[in-house]
Symmetry: C2
Subunit: 321 residues, 2 copies
Protein backbone atom coordinates (compact mmCIF):
# COMPACT_ATOMS: atom_id res chain seq x y z
CA UNK A 1 0.00 0.00 0.00
CA UNK A 2 1.43 3.36 -0.94
CA UNK A 3 0.12 6.73 0.15
CA UNK A 4 1.35 10.20 -0.73
CA UNK A 5 3.31 11.88 2.08
CA UNK A 6 1.58 14.91 3.62
CA UNK A 7 2.91 17.95 5.47
CA UNK A 8 2.37 18.63 9.17
CA UNK A 9 -0.86 19.55 10.97
CA UNK A 10 -3.71 18.04 12.93
CA UNK A 11 -5.95 17.24 9.93
CA UNK A 12 -3.03 15.53 8.22
CA UNK A 13 -2.12 13.65 11.40
CA UNK A 14 -5.68 12.37 11.30
CA UNK A 15 -5.30 11.33 7.66
CA UNK A 16 -2.06 9.50 8.55
CA UNK A 17 -3.80 7.72 11.47
CA UNK A 18 -6.62 6.73 9.16
CA UNK A 19 -4.23 5.39 6.53
CA UNK A 20 -2.50 3.37 9.25
CA UNK A 21 -5.78 2.02 10.63
CA UNK A 22 -7.03 1.07 7.18
CA UNK A 23 -3.83 -0.73 6.18
CA UNK A 24 -4.47 -2.76 3.04
CA UNK A 25 -8.03 -1.48 2.92
CA UNK A 26 -6.87 1.87 1.55
CA UNK A 27 -4.67 2.85 -1.32
CA UNK A 28 -3.12 6.06 -2.63
CA UNK A 29 -4.52 8.41 0.04
CA UNK A 30 -3.11 11.92 0.25
CA UNK A 31 -3.04 13.10 -3.35
CA UNK A 32 -5.51 15.49 -4.98
CA UNK A 33 -7.33 12.71 -6.82
CA UNK A 34 -7.54 8.94 -6.72
CA UNK A 35 -6.66 7.23 -9.99
CA UNK A 36 -8.19 4.08 -11.43
CA UNK A 37 -7.40 2.24 -14.66
CA UNK A 38 -10.64 1.44 -16.46
CA UNK A 39 -11.11 -2.14 -17.65
CA UNK A 40 -13.58 -2.98 -20.40
CA UNK A 41 -17.07 -1.75 -19.64
CA UNK A 42 -18.76 1.19 -17.99
CA UNK A 43 -17.95 3.09 -14.83
CA UNK A 44 -20.81 3.00 -12.30
CA UNK A 45 -20.74 5.63 -9.56
CA UNK A 46 -23.09 6.57 -6.74
CA UNK A 47 -23.03 8.73 -3.61
CA UNK A 48 -24.95 8.28 -0.38
CA UNK A 49 -24.90 10.45 2.74
CA UNK A 50 -25.58 9.20 6.30
CA UNK A 51 -26.32 11.83 8.94
CA UNK A 52 -26.34 11.51 12.74
CA UNK A 53 -29.88 11.62 14.19
CA UNK A 54 -31.32 11.05 10.71
CA UNK A 55 -29.81 7.74 9.59
CA UNK A 56 -28.32 6.56 12.89
CA UNK A 57 -28.09 7.45 16.56
CA UNK A 58 -24.89 7.29 18.57
CA UNK A 59 -26.68 5.50 21.44
CA UNK A 60 -27.49 2.56 19.18
CA UNK A 61 -24.26 1.79 17.40
CA UNK A 62 -20.52 2.02 17.85
CA UNK A 63 -18.43 4.10 15.47
CA UNK A 64 -17.17 1.16 13.46
CA UNK A 65 -20.78 0.10 12.85
CA UNK A 66 -21.72 3.65 11.81
CA UNK A 67 -18.94 3.61 9.23
CA UNK A 68 -19.78 0.12 7.99
CA UNK A 69 -23.44 1.03 7.61
CA UNK A 70 -22.73 4.27 5.72
CA UNK A 71 -20.45 2.47 3.26
CA UNK A 72 -22.75 -0.55 2.89
CA UNK A 73 -25.68 1.74 2.03
CA UNK A 74 -23.64 3.27 -0.79
CA UNK A 75 -22.22 -0.06 -1.99
CA UNK A 76 -25.76 -1.38 -2.17
CA UNK A 77 -26.33 0.95 -5.14
CA UNK A 78 -23.48 -0.74 -7.00
CA UNK A 79 -25.07 -4.09 -6.15
CA UNK A 80 -28.37 -2.92 -7.67
CA UNK A 81 -26.50 -2.01 -10.86
CA UNK A 82 -24.84 -5.43 -11.06
CA UNK A 83 -21.46 -3.68 -10.91
CA UNK A 84 -18.13 -4.90 -9.54
CA UNK A 85 -16.89 -2.47 -6.83
CA UNK A 86 -13.55 -0.81 -7.54
CA UNK A 87 -13.15 1.69 -4.70
CA UNK A 88 -14.84 4.24 -2.47
CA UNK A 89 -14.31 7.76 -1.11
CA UNK A 90 -15.60 9.02 2.24
CA UNK A 91 -16.20 12.69 3.09
CA UNK A 92 -16.61 12.79 6.87
CA UNK A 93 -17.93 15.72 8.92
CA UNK A 94 -16.61 15.39 12.49
CA UNK A 95 -18.05 17.21 15.54
CA UNK A 96 -15.56 19.28 17.52
CA UNK A 97 -16.16 17.01 20.54
CA UNK A 98 -15.15 13.86 18.67
CA UNK A 99 -11.96 12.00 19.50
CA UNK A 100 -9.44 10.76 16.98
CA UNK A 101 -10.22 7.21 18.15
CA UNK A 102 -13.91 7.67 17.24
CA UNK A 103 -13.00 8.99 13.79
CA UNK A 104 -10.53 6.18 13.20
CA UNK A 105 -13.09 3.57 14.27
CA UNK A 106 -15.69 5.08 11.93
CA UNK A 107 -13.34 5.09 8.96
CA UNK A 108 -12.23 1.54 9.84
CA UNK A 109 -15.86 0.53 9.54
CA UNK A 110 -16.04 2.19 6.12
CA UNK A 111 -12.88 0.33 5.13
CA UNK A 112 -14.17 -3.01 6.42
CA UNK A 113 -17.40 -2.71 4.43
CA UNK A 114 -15.45 -1.80 1.30
CA UNK A 115 -13.00 -4.65 1.91
CA UNK A 116 -15.87 -7.13 2.21
CA UNK A 117 -16.66 -6.51 -1.47
CA UNK A 118 -13.17 -5.74 -2.79
CA UNK A 119 -13.42 -1.92 -2.74
CA UNK A 120 -10.46 -0.14 -1.11
CA UNK A 121 -10.77 3.37 0.29
CA UNK A 122 -9.18 5.49 -2.44
CA UNK A 123 -9.91 8.99 -1.14
CA UNK A 124 -11.92 11.21 1.12
CA UNK A 125 -12.18 14.51 2.92
CA UNK A 126 -12.47 15.64 6.55
CA UNK A 127 -14.22 18.69 7.95
CA UNK A 128 -15.35 19.83 11.35
CA UNK A 129 -19.09 20.43 11.72
CA UNK A 130 -22.04 20.33 14.09
CA UNK A 131 -22.76 16.61 13.90
CA UNK A 132 -21.43 13.46 12.27
CA UNK A 133 -22.17 12.91 8.63
CA UNK A 134 -20.52 10.54 6.17
CA UNK A 135 -20.91 10.96 2.41
CA UNK A 136 -19.65 7.81 0.72
CA UNK A 137 -19.08 7.71 -3.04
CA UNK A 138 -18.65 4.27 -4.59
CA UNK A 139 -17.13 3.39 -7.94
CA UNK A 140 -17.50 0.16 -9.86
CA UNK A 141 -17.24 -1.35 -13.31
CA UNK A 142 -19.89 -3.17 -15.24
CA UNK A 143 -20.04 -4.62 -18.72
CA UNK A 144 -23.84 -4.88 -18.57
CA UNK A 145 -25.43 -2.36 -16.20
CA UNK A 146 -28.88 -3.19 -14.84
CA UNK A 147 -30.96 -0.04 -14.42
CA UNK A 148 -34.46 0.38 -13.10
CA UNK A 149 -36.15 0.82 -16.43
CA UNK A 150 -35.98 -2.61 -18.08
CA UNK A 151 -38.83 -4.50 -16.34
CA UNK A 152 -41.39 -5.89 -18.83
CA UNK A 153 -44.88 -7.39 -18.38
CA UNK A 154 -44.52 -11.09 -17.72
CA UNK A 155 -41.29 -10.77 -15.72
CA UNK A 156 -41.21 -12.21 -12.23
CA UNK A 157 -40.38 -10.04 -9.21
CA UNK A 158 -37.83 -11.51 -6.86
CA UNK A 159 -36.26 -10.38 -3.61
CA UNK A 160 -32.99 -11.45 -1.99
CA UNK A 161 -32.59 -12.33 1.70
CA UNK A 162 -35.29 -11.49 4.23
CA UNK A 163 -37.11 -8.24 5.02
CA UNK A 164 -38.09 -6.42 8.19
CA UNK A 165 -35.00 -7.06 10.31
CA UNK A 166 -33.73 -3.48 10.33
CA UNK A 167 -37.20 -2.15 11.15
CA UNK A 168 -37.49 -4.63 14.01
CA UNK A 169 -34.24 -3.25 15.47
CA UNK A 170 -35.48 0.34 15.14
CA UNK A 171 -38.77 -0.53 16.82
CA UNK A 172 -36.97 -2.14 19.76
CA UNK A 173 -34.59 0.81 20.22
CA UNK A 174 -37.44 3.27 20.12
CA UNK A 175 -39.22 1.32 22.82
CA UNK A 176 -36.04 1.48 24.91
CA UNK A 177 -35.24 -2.23 24.49
CA UNK A 178 -32.15 -3.86 23.07
CA UNK A 179 -33.02 -5.47 19.70
CA UNK A 180 -32.60 -9.20 19.11
CA UNK A 181 -29.04 -9.83 17.86
CA UNK A 182 -30.20 -10.82 14.36
CA UNK A 183 -32.31 -7.64 14.05
CA UNK A 184 -29.57 -5.43 15.41
CA UNK A 185 -27.11 -6.94 12.98
CA UNK A 186 -29.47 -6.28 10.06
CA UNK A 187 -29.53 -2.59 10.98
CA UNK A 188 -25.91 -1.95 11.99
CA UNK A 189 -24.14 -4.33 9.61
CA UNK A 190 -26.16 -4.69 6.41
CA UNK A 191 -24.39 -6.74 3.76
CA UNK A 192 -24.25 -5.02 0.39
CA UNK A 193 -25.62 -7.65 -2.03
CA UNK A 194 -22.81 -7.25 -4.53
CA UNK A 195 -22.37 -10.95 -5.37
CA UNK A 196 -26.11 -11.40 -5.65
CA UNK A 197 -26.44 -8.34 -7.90
CA UNK A 198 -23.67 -9.52 -10.21
CA UNK A 199 -25.14 -13.03 -10.32
CA UNK A 200 -28.60 -11.69 -11.19
CA UNK A 201 -27.15 -9.30 -13.81
CA UNK A 202 -25.31 -12.23 -15.41
CA UNK A 203 -28.51 -14.32 -15.37
CA UNK A 204 -30.69 -11.89 -17.26
CA UNK A 205 -32.04 -9.43 -14.66
CA UNK A 206 -33.98 -6.75 -16.56
CA UNK A 207 -34.22 -4.22 -13.72
CA UNK A 208 -33.04 -4.02 -10.12
CA UNK A 209 -33.26 -1.65 -7.16
CA UNK A 210 -31.99 -1.93 -3.61
CA UNK A 211 -34.59 -1.68 -0.86
CA UNK A 212 -33.15 1.20 1.16
CA UNK A 213 -36.61 2.77 1.55
CA UNK A 214 -38.34 -0.60 1.84
CA UNK A 215 -40.41 -2.46 -0.72
CA UNK A 216 -43.22 0.08 -0.24
CA UNK A 217 -40.82 2.96 -0.91
CA UNK A 218 -38.67 1.54 -3.70
CA UNK A 219 -41.03 -0.63 -5.76
CA UNK A 220 -42.81 2.54 -7.05
CA UNK A 221 -39.47 3.83 -8.43
CA UNK A 222 -38.87 0.63 -10.37
CA UNK A 223 -42.49 0.73 -11.63
CA UNK A 224 -42.19 4.38 -12.70
CA UNK A 225 -38.79 3.92 -14.36
CA UNK A 226 -39.97 0.87 -16.31
CA UNK A 227 -43.49 2.21 -17.04
CA UNK A 228 -45.10 -0.97 -15.72
CA UNK A 229 -47.37 -2.24 -12.93
CA UNK A 230 -45.74 -4.26 -10.16
CA UNK A 231 -48.15 -6.79 -8.68
CA UNK A 232 -46.89 -7.92 -5.26
CA UNK A 233 -48.06 -10.97 -3.34
CA UNK A 234 -47.11 -10.03 0.20
CA UNK A 235 -47.90 -13.56 1.42
CA UNK A 236 -44.66 -14.61 -0.31
CA UNK A 237 -42.42 -12.06 1.41
CA UNK A 238 -39.38 -13.59 3.12
CA UNK A 239 -39.59 -12.38 6.73
CA UNK A 240 -36.69 -11.71 9.06
CA UNK A 241 -37.35 -13.74 12.25
CA UNK A 242 -37.51 -10.67 14.51
CA UNK A 243 -40.09 -8.98 12.27
CA UNK A 244 -42.96 -11.22 13.43
CA UNK A 245 -42.60 -10.31 17.10
CA UNK A 246 -42.24 -6.56 16.44
CA UNK A 247 -45.16 -6.61 13.98
CA UNK A 248 -47.37 -8.20 16.65
CA UNK A 249 -46.40 -5.48 19.13
CA UNK A 250 -47.23 -2.89 16.45
CA UNK A 251 -50.56 -4.59 15.71
CA UNK A 252 -49.66 -5.13 12.06
CA UNK A 253 -49.41 -8.19 9.83
CA UNK A 254 -45.71 -9.13 9.73
CA UNK A 255 -45.72 -9.00 5.91
CA UNK A 256 -46.87 -5.35 5.91
CA UNK A 257 -44.40 -4.51 8.67
CA UNK A 258 -41.59 -6.00 6.56
CA UNK A 259 -42.77 -4.45 3.26
CA UNK A 260 -42.87 -0.97 4.78
CA UNK A 261 -39.60 -1.22 6.71
CA UNK A 262 -36.52 0.39 5.22
CA UNK A 263 -32.78 -0.11 5.52
CA UNK A 264 -32.78 -3.80 4.69
CA UNK A 265 -30.62 -3.24 1.59
CA UNK A 266 -31.89 -6.37 -0.10
CA UNK A 267 -32.36 -6.36 -3.89
CA UNK A 268 -35.66 -6.33 -5.77
CA UNK A 269 -35.12 -7.75 -9.27
CA UNK A 270 -37.32 -8.20 -12.32
CA UNK A 271 -36.26 -11.48 -13.91
CA UNK A 272 -37.50 -12.83 -17.25
CA UNK A 273 -40.34 -15.41 -17.26
CA UNK A 274 -37.89 -18.20 -18.10
CA UNK A 275 -36.14 -17.81 -14.73
CA UNK A 276 -37.11 -21.06 -13.05
CA UNK A 277 -36.86 -22.98 -9.77
CA UNK A 278 -33.58 -24.56 -10.89
CA UNK A 279 -32.14 -21.06 -11.41
CA UNK A 280 -33.37 -20.02 -7.98
CA UNK A 281 -31.65 -23.00 -6.37
CA UNK A 282 -28.44 -22.23 -8.25
CA UNK A 283 -28.58 -18.63 -6.97
CA UNK A 284 -29.09 -19.76 -3.38
CA UNK A 285 -26.25 -22.26 -3.62
CA UNK A 286 -23.79 -19.85 -5.25
CA UNK A 287 -24.67 -16.70 -3.30
CA UNK A 288 -25.51 -18.33 0.05
CA UNK A 289 -28.62 -16.20 0.21
CA UNK A 290 -32.37 -16.74 -0.17
CA UNK A 291 -34.15 -15.66 -3.33
CA UNK A 292 -37.95 -15.51 -3.36
CA UNK A 293 -40.53 -14.70 -6.01
CA UNK A 294 -42.86 -12.09 -4.56
CA UNK A 295 -44.87 -10.98 -7.56
CA UNK A 296 -45.08 -10.29 -11.25
CA UNK A 297 -44.74 -7.39 -13.65
CA UNK A 298 -47.87 -6.41 -15.57
CA UNK A 299 -49.04 -3.75 -17.98
CA UNK A 300 -50.09 -0.52 -16.26
CA UNK A 301 -48.55 1.86 -13.75
CA UNK A 302 -47.54 1.84 -10.11
CA UNK A 303 -47.64 -0.85 -7.48
CA UNK A 304 -50.49 -3.14 -6.45
CA UNK A 305 -50.06 -5.31 -3.38
CA UNK A 306 -52.30 -7.89 -1.77
CA UNK A 307 -52.10 -10.03 1.35
CA UNK A 308 -54.30 -13.09 1.84
CA UNK A 309 -56.35 -11.91 -1.13
CA UNK A 310 -57.01 -8.43 0.28
CA UNK A 311 -55.53 -5.31 -1.44
CA UNK A 312 -52.98 -3.44 0.71
CA UNK A 313 -51.72 0.11 0.13
CA UNK A 314 -48.03 0.20 1.04
CA UNK A 315 -46.21 3.30 2.20
CA UNK A 316 -42.47 3.85 2.01
CA UNK A 317 -40.02 4.04 4.83
CA UNK A 318 -38.99 7.52 5.97
CA UNK A 319 -35.91 8.25 8.01
CA UNK A 320 -36.63 9.04 11.63
CA UNK A 321 -35.96 12.76 11.44
CA UNK B 1 -31.25 15.06 -21.29
CA UNK B 2 -32.80 11.87 -19.96
CA UNK B 3 -33.49 11.06 -16.35
CA UNK B 4 -34.99 7.95 -14.81
CA UNK B 5 -38.60 8.40 -13.68
CA UNK B 6 -39.12 8.25 -9.90
CA UNK B 7 -42.12 7.40 -7.76
CA UNK B 8 -44.04 9.88 -5.61
CA UNK B 9 -42.88 11.67 -2.45
CA UNK B 10 -41.36 14.90 -1.22
CA UNK B 11 -37.72 13.87 -1.60
CA UNK B 12 -38.43 12.73 -5.15
CA UNK B 13 -40.36 15.91 -5.91
CA UNK B 14 -37.20 17.70 -4.86
CA UNK B 15 -35.09 15.53 -7.16
CA UNK B 16 -37.49 16.29 -10.03
CA UNK B 17 -37.29 20.06 -9.30
CA UNK B 18 -33.52 19.82 -9.25
CA UNK B 19 -33.41 17.95 -12.56
CA UNK B 20 -35.68 20.63 -14.06
CA UNK B 21 -33.57 23.48 -12.69
CA UNK B 22 -30.33 21.91 -13.91
CA UNK B 23 -31.64 21.26 -17.43
CA UNK B 24 -28.73 20.35 -19.69
CA UNK B 25 -26.35 20.60 -16.76
CA UNK B 26 -27.49 17.23 -15.44
CA UNK B 27 -27.83 13.83 -17.01
CA UNK B 28 -29.24 10.47 -15.98
CA UNK B 29 -30.42 11.41 -12.48
CA UNK B 30 -32.73 9.03 -10.65
CA UNK B 31 -31.08 5.63 -11.11
CA UNK B 32 -29.00 3.76 -8.53
CA UNK B 33 -25.72 4.66 -10.20
CA UNK B 34 -24.46 7.07 -12.82
CA UNK B 35 -22.73 5.40 -15.76
CA UNK B 36 -19.76 6.72 -17.72
CA UNK B 37 -17.96 5.21 -20.69
CA UNK B 38 -14.20 5.37 -20.08
CA UNK B 39 -12.07 6.79 -22.88
CA UNK B 40 -8.35 6.03 -23.07
CA UNK B 41 -6.51 6.95 -19.91
CA UNK B 42 -7.09 6.91 -16.18
CA UNK B 43 -10.09 7.85 -14.10
CA UNK B 44 -9.34 10.64 -11.60
CA UNK B 45 -11.77 11.06 -8.72
CA UNK B 46 -11.89 13.31 -5.67
CA UNK B 47 -14.38 14.29 -2.99
CA UNK B 48 -14.65 17.55 -1.05
CA UNK B 49 -17.14 18.54 1.63
CA UNK B 50 -18.28 22.13 2.38
CA UNK B 51 -20.03 22.72 5.69
CA UNK B 52 -22.09 25.71 6.84
CA UNK B 53 -20.27 27.81 9.47
CA UNK B 54 -17.00 26.03 8.60
CA UNK B 55 -16.49 26.74 4.90
CA UNK B 56 -19.13 29.43 4.38
CA UNK B 57 -21.70 31.52 6.21
CA UNK B 58 -25.22 32.10 4.98
CA UNK B 59 -24.95 35.86 5.73
CA UNK B 60 -22.13 36.21 3.22
CA UNK B 61 -23.31 34.36 0.15
CA UNK B 62 -26.48 33.40 -1.65
CA UNK B 63 -27.36 29.74 -2.17
CA UNK B 64 -26.25 29.64 -5.77
CA UNK B 65 -22.83 30.93 -4.70
CA UNK B 66 -22.65 28.32 -1.93
CA UNK B 67 -23.27 25.59 -4.49
CA UNK B 68 -20.80 27.04 -7.01
CA UNK B 69 -18.10 27.32 -4.39
CA UNK B 70 -18.59 23.77 -3.09
CA UNK B 71 -18.34 22.33 -6.61
CA UNK B 72 -15.44 24.58 -7.64
CA UNK B 73 -13.45 23.49 -4.58
CA UNK B 74 -13.86 19.86 -5.65
CA UNK B 75 -13.21 20.53 -9.35
CA UNK B 76 -10.01 22.28 -8.34
CA UNK B 77 -8.60 18.85 -7.36
CA UNK B 78 -9.17 17.62 -10.92
CA UNK B 79 -7.40 20.76 -12.16
CA UNK B 80 -4.40 19.94 -9.95
CA UNK B 81 -4.26 16.47 -11.50
CA UNK B 82 -4.36 17.87 -15.04
CA UNK B 83 -7.56 15.89 -15.64
CA UNK B 84 -10.49 16.59 -17.95
CA UNK B 85 -13.72 16.76 -15.89
CA UNK B 86 -16.38 14.20 -16.86
CA UNK B 87 -19.10 14.67 -14.23
CA UNK B 88 -19.87 15.30 -10.59
CA UNK B 89 -22.14 14.03 -7.81
CA UNK B 90 -23.47 16.15 -4.94
CA UNK B 91 -24.65 14.76 -1.58
CA UNK B 92 -26.52 17.60 0.09
CA UNK B 93 -27.60 17.77 3.74
CA UNK B 94 -30.54 20.19 4.03
CA UNK B 95 -31.74 21.79 7.29
CA UNK B 96 -35.42 21.25 8.11
CA UNK B 97 -35.97 25.02 7.87
CA UNK B 98 -34.69 25.23 4.28
CA UNK B 99 -37.02 25.97 1.40
CA UNK B 100 -37.13 24.08 -1.87
CA UNK B 101 -36.07 27.31 -3.62
CA UNK B 102 -32.90 27.49 -1.50
CA UNK B 103 -32.04 23.89 -2.28
CA UNK B 104 -32.70 24.37 -5.97
CA UNK B 105 -30.55 27.52 -6.05
CA UNK B 106 -27.72 25.70 -4.29
CA UNK B 107 -27.82 22.78 -6.70
CA UNK B 108 -28.05 25.21 -9.64
CA UNK B 109 -24.80 26.72 -8.42
CA UNK B 110 -23.24 23.25 -8.31
CA UNK B 111 -24.49 22.66 -11.85
CA UNK B 112 -23.20 26.02 -13.11
CA UNK B 113 -19.70 25.36 -11.74
CA UNK B 114 -19.69 21.91 -13.33
CA UNK B 115 -21.01 23.31 -16.60
CA UNK B 116 -18.22 25.91 -16.67
CA UNK B 117 -15.72 23.06 -17.08
CA UNK B 118 -17.85 20.55 -18.99
CA UNK B 119 -18.88 18.37 -16.03
CA UNK B 120 -22.61 17.59 -15.82
CA UNK B 121 -24.26 16.60 -12.55
CA UNK B 122 -24.58 12.83 -12.89
CA UNK B 123 -25.87 11.91 -9.45
CA UNK B 124 -26.32 12.86 -5.84
CA UNK B 125 -28.17 12.28 -2.61
CA UNK B 126 -30.35 14.37 -0.30
CA UNK B 127 -30.79 14.12 3.45
CA UNK B 128 -32.21 16.30 6.16
CA UNK B 129 -29.77 17.38 8.88
CA UNK B 130 -28.87 20.08 11.36
CA UNK B 131 -27.06 22.41 8.96
CA UNK B 132 -26.17 22.69 5.29
CA UNK B 133 -23.36 20.56 3.99
CA UNK B 134 -22.47 19.65 0.43
CA UNK B 135 -20.15 16.75 -0.40
CA UNK B 136 -19.16 17.00 -4.04
CA UNK B 137 -17.41 14.12 -5.79
CA UNK B 138 -15.78 14.91 -9.14
CA UNK B 139 -14.75 12.49 -11.87
CA UNK B 140 -12.37 13.13 -14.72
CA UNK B 141 -10.11 11.42 -17.21
CA UNK B 142 -6.43 11.89 -17.72
CA UNK B 143 -3.87 10.23 -19.96
CA UNK B 144 -0.98 11.68 -17.91
CA UNK B 145 -1.93 12.40 -14.30
CA UNK B 146 0.17 14.96 -12.43
CA UNK B 147 0.52 14.02 -8.77
CA UNK B 148 2.31 15.81 -5.98
CA UNK B 149 5.36 13.59 -5.88
CA UNK B 150 7.23 14.40 -9.09
CA UNK B 151 9.01 17.69 -8.21
CA UNK B 152 12.80 17.47 -8.65
CA UNK B 153 15.66 19.77 -7.58
CA UNK B 154 16.16 22.39 -10.26
CA UNK B 155 12.47 22.66 -11.18
CA UNK B 156 10.87 26.09 -11.03
CA UNK B 157 7.84 26.75 -8.82
CA UNK B 158 5.02 28.60 -10.53
CA UNK B 159 1.62 29.83 -9.42
CA UNK B 160 -1.46 30.68 -11.51
CA UNK B 161 -3.60 33.80 -11.06
CA UNK B 162 -3.24 36.00 -7.97
CA UNK B 163 -3.32 35.17 -4.25
CA UNK B 164 -4.96 36.74 -1.21
CA UNK B 165 -8.32 37.73 -2.71
CA UNK B 166 -10.42 35.20 -0.81
CA UNK B 167 -8.66 36.06 2.45
CA UNK B 168 -9.32 39.76 1.85
CA UNK B 169 -13.04 39.02 1.51
CA UNK B 170 -13.05 36.99 4.74
CA UNK B 171 -11.22 39.78 6.59
CA UNK B 172 -13.77 42.37 5.44
CA UNK B 173 -16.77 40.20 6.40
CA UNK B 174 -15.30 39.50 9.83
CA UNK B 175 -14.87 43.21 10.39
CA UNK B 176 -18.54 43.72 9.42
CA UNK B 177 -17.73 45.36 6.08
CA UNK B 178 -18.76 44.35 2.60
CA UNK B 179 -15.68 43.10 0.71
CA UNK B 180 -14.51 44.76 -2.50
CA UNK B 181 -16.28 43.13 -5.44
CA UNK B 182 -13.10 41.50 -6.76
CA UNK B 183 -12.31 40.02 -3.33
CA UNK B 184 -15.88 38.86 -2.78
CA UNK B 185 -15.88 37.22 -6.19
CA UNK B 186 -12.62 35.39 -5.42
CA UNK B 187 -14.27 33.87 -2.34
CA UNK B 188 -17.80 33.11 -3.58
CA UNK B 189 -17.05 32.24 -7.20
CA UNK B 190 -13.57 30.71 -7.46
CA UNK B 191 -12.76 29.44 -10.94
CA UNK B 192 -11.47 25.87 -10.96
CA UNK B 193 -8.22 26.10 -12.97
CA UNK B 194 -9.06 23.15 -15.19
CA UNK B 195 -7.76 24.61 -18.47
CA UNK B 196 -4.61 25.82 -16.75
CA UNK B 197 -4.04 22.44 -15.11
CA UNK B 198 -4.45 20.58 -18.39
CA UNK B 199 -2.17 23.05 -20.17
CA UNK B 200 0.53 22.67 -17.52
CA UNK B 201 0.18 18.86 -17.54
CA UNK B 202 0.60 18.88 -21.33
CA UNK B 203 3.68 21.14 -21.00
CA UNK B 204 5.65 18.94 -18.65
CA UNK B 205 4.42 19.82 -15.13
CA UNK B 206 6.14 17.40 -12.74
CA UNK B 207 3.91 18.05 -9.71
CA UNK B 208 0.89 20.24 -8.95
CA UNK B 209 -1.37 21.05 -6.01
CA UNK B 210 -4.28 23.45 -5.68
CA UNK B 211 -3.93 26.13 -3.00
CA UNK B 212 -7.09 25.45 -1.00
CA UNK B 213 -5.19 25.85 2.29
CA UNK B 214 -2.97 28.63 0.93
CA UNK B 215 0.63 28.48 -0.19
CA UNK B 216 1.70 28.20 3.46
CA UNK B 217 -0.63 25.23 3.95
CA UNK B 218 -0.22 23.36 0.67
CA UNK B 219 3.42 23.85 -0.30
CA UNK B 220 4.53 21.55 2.59
CA UNK B 221 2.37 18.74 1.12
CA UNK B 222 4.04 19.03 -2.27
CA UNK B 223 7.47 19.17 -0.58
CA UNK B 224 6.69 16.09 1.56
CA UNK B 225 5.21 14.10 -1.34
CA UNK B 226 8.19 14.84 -3.60
CA UNK B 227 10.83 14.57 -0.87
CA UNK B 228 12.32 17.95 -1.79
CA UNK B 229 12.84 21.46 -0.42
CA UNK B 230 10.64 24.23 -1.83
CA UNK B 231 12.42 27.57 -1.79
CA UNK B 232 9.86 30.40 -2.10
CA UNK B 233 10.62 34.01 -2.97
CA UNK B 234 7.57 35.76 -1.56
CA UNK B 235 8.59 39.05 -3.25
CA UNK B 236 7.46 37.41 -6.53
CA UNK B 237 3.99 36.45 -5.28
CA UNK B 238 1.18 37.69 -7.55
CA UNK B 239 -1.12 39.68 -5.23
CA UNK B 240 -4.88 40.11 -5.59
CA UNK B 241 -5.57 43.90 -5.55
CA UNK B 242 -7.69 43.77 -2.38
CA UNK B 243 -4.99 41.90 -0.47
CA UNK B 244 -2.76 44.97 -0.06
CA UNK B 245 -5.41 47.02 1.74
CA UNK B 246 -6.47 44.18 4.05
CA UNK B 247 -2.84 43.29 4.79
CA UNK B 248 -2.19 46.89 5.85
CA UNK B 249 -5.19 46.76 8.20
CA UNK B 250 -3.85 43.50 9.61
CA UNK B 251 -0.38 45.00 10.02
CA UNK B 252 1.20 42.35 7.77
CA UNK B 253 3.25 42.46 4.59
CA UNK B 254 0.79 41.81 1.73
CA UNK B 255 2.94 38.94 0.46
CA UNK B 256 2.68 37.10 3.80
CA UNK B 257 -1.05 37.88 4.00
CA UNK B 258 -1.49 36.35 0.52
CA UNK B 259 0.79 33.36 1.13
CA UNK B 260 -1.08 32.41 4.31
CA UNK B 261 -4.59 32.99 2.93
CA UNK B 262 -6.61 29.98 1.82
CA UNK B 263 -9.46 29.32 -0.59
CA UNK B 264 -7.83 30.93 -3.62
CA UNK B 265 -7.86 27.64 -5.57
CA UNK B 266 -4.95 28.67 -7.73
CA UNK B 267 -2.45 26.02 -8.80
CA UNK B 268 1.13 25.62 -7.57
CA UNK B 269 3.16 23.74 -10.19
CA UNK B 270 6.72 22.42 -10.35
CA UNK B 271 7.86 22.89 -13.95
CA UNK B 272 11.11 21.61 -15.43
CA UNK B 273 14.09 24.01 -15.68
CA UNK B 274 13.57 24.32 -19.44
CA UNK B 275 10.21 26.04 -18.94
CA UNK B 276 11.01 29.55 -20.16
CA UNK B 277 9.56 33.04 -20.55
CA UNK B 278 8.20 32.15 -24.01
CA UNK B 279 6.29 29.23 -22.45
CA UNK B 280 4.95 31.52 -19.75
CA UNK B 281 3.64 33.96 -22.35
CA UNK B 282 2.03 31.14 -24.31
CA UNK B 283 0.28 29.95 -21.11
CA UNK B 284 -1.02 33.44 -20.36
CA UNK B 285 -2.26 33.89 -23.91
CA UNK B 286 -3.95 30.49 -24.15
CA UNK B 287 -5.39 30.30 -20.63
CA UNK B 288 -6.16 34.01 -20.13
CA UNK B 289 -4.54 33.81 -16.71
CA UNK B 290 -1.32 34.98 -15.10
CA UNK B 291 1.52 32.56 -14.42
CA UNK B 292 4.38 33.62 -12.14
CA UNK B 293 7.58 31.96 -11.03
CA UNK B 294 7.72 32.18 -7.23
CA UNK B 295 10.60 29.92 -6.36
CA UNK B 296 12.65 26.84 -7.05
CA UNK B 297 12.86 23.22 -5.98
CA UNK B 298 16.01 22.19 -4.15
CA UNK B 299 17.46 19.17 -2.39
CA UNK B 300 16.26 18.83 1.20
CA UNK B 301 12.94 18.77 3.00
CA UNK B 302 10.08 21.15 3.69
CA UNK B 303 9.50 24.76 2.72
CA UNK B 304 11.79 27.76 3.06
CA UNK B 305 10.38 31.20 2.33
CA UNK B 306 11.98 34.63 2.29
CA UNK B 307 10.73 38.15 1.73
CA UNK B 308 13.10 41.01 0.93
CA UNK B 309 15.96 38.74 1.89
CA UNK B 310 14.56 37.89 5.33
CA UNK B 311 13.44 34.31 6.17
CA UNK B 312 9.69 33.98 6.84
CA UNK B 313 7.93 31.04 8.51
CA UNK B 314 4.59 30.52 6.79
CA UNK B 315 1.57 28.96 8.44
CA UNK B 316 -1.32 27.34 6.62
CA UNK B 317 -4.86 28.57 6.37
CA UNK B 318 -7.37 27.01 8.75
CA UNK B 319 -11.11 27.08 8.23
CA UNK B 320 -12.87 29.53 10.48
CA UNK B 321 -14.44 26.95 12.77
Amino acid sequence: VTHTALGEGREFDRVRSIALALGDRATGLGDDCALLTPPEGLLAVSTDVSVEAVHFRLEWMDYKEIGWRAAAAALSDLAAEGAEPAGLLAAVVVPASATDAQLTALVSGVGAAGDSVGAPVIGGDLSSGGCWSIAVTVLGWTARPVGRSGARPGDGLWVTGALGGARAALAAWRRGDEPLPEARSAFVRPEPRVDAGRWLAAHGARAMIDLSDGLGGDAPHLAAASGVLLDLTLDALPLAPAAADEARRAGMPPETFAAEGGEDYELLAALPPAFAEADRLEFERECGLALNRIGAVGAGHGVRAHLRGVPVTLTGYRHFS
